[in-house]
Amino acid sequence: MGKKILIVDDSNTMRKIVTRSLRQAGLDFDEILEAGDGLEALAVLRKEKVDLVLSDINMPNMDGLAFLREKSADAALNGIPVVMITTEAGNDIIGEAMALGALGSIKKPFTPDQIQETIGQLF
């Protein structure tokens, strides 16, 4: 696929689960980067050319919604697509994420098929 993806979650376990699920879904990225919160994610995005961000919402230091706000305020980062991966199912929080520029959401727990369904159509 030749693309670079950034996984943002404060849980190291969840980052590894997402990585495995991407491979099981047949989505083969050139490089998979990781960040533990929104602040780290912004730092990565300012250094690396990333094609897609998968981000949790509930994280310490900077949560997923604050990350979306900061990213959209930065002209250099604004166009990078983001999909939320979250335990949140509420229309209010997901709606807020979409209003801040997220392209979609995947609810935890998820299967590789659900990952494929949401992300596969982006590439």
């Binding site: 376990t13 590894k16 949140e88 199912a89 509420g90 935890k108 998820f110």
Partner: protein, 154 residues
């Protein structure tokens, strides 16, 4: 609050079948307090908002290592940071799943960051008021418990 044991069983089944890939069999809810936990790791998460309380999952260390191994796709030899993180994430997903059945899509309920504790022997006591539900599950020749203490605020 209706059918909390059924909702817990459904949530645990969803997570274990989709992400842990481990067969589980629920048992009858336990009445009263849990005995002191031995060689166990507990993942817990708080709930606040229209419903207040906490949810905990108590797993024997051997089972916690298998769960972590299934999450990560590798053998796990000891209770290390990976296991603590995995069980915390398990509590997080359970919390998200439970809150989604307490209110419409979990609206107006916030989850805390998950925590874990582990040790040779400890007594886990929650001082939350409200309804108490403890459901045992059999898995891999072992057993774990999911405990929910929840009160709907006025």
């Amino acid at each position: 609050m209706e059918n909390l044991p059924d909702k817990i069983m459904s949530s645990v089944h969803e997570i274990f079948s989709s992400m842990v890939m481990m067969d589980i069999v629920p048992g009858a809810p336990i009445l009263g307090e849990i005995n002191p936990l031995q060689n166990t790791i507990t993942g817990m998460i708080g709930l606040a908002g229209t419903h207040k309380g906490m949810l905990a999952i108590h797993l024997p260390e051997s089972l916690a290592k298998k769960v972590t191994g299934n999450f990560l796709g590798m053998e796990v030899e000891e209770i290390d940071d990976d296991v603590q993180d995995a069980i915390g994430e398990l509590a997080n997903m359970l919390g998200g799943s439970i809150k989604a059945v307490l209110t419409e899509n979990g609206k107006d309920i916030k989850l805390s960051m998950p925590s874990t504790i582990c040790g040779k022997e400890y007594q886990f006591q929650s001082h939350y008021e409200g309804e108490s539900v403890i459901v045992p599950f059999a898995a891999e020749d072992s057993k774990f418990l999911v405990e929910l203490r929840i009160k709907q605020e006025e």
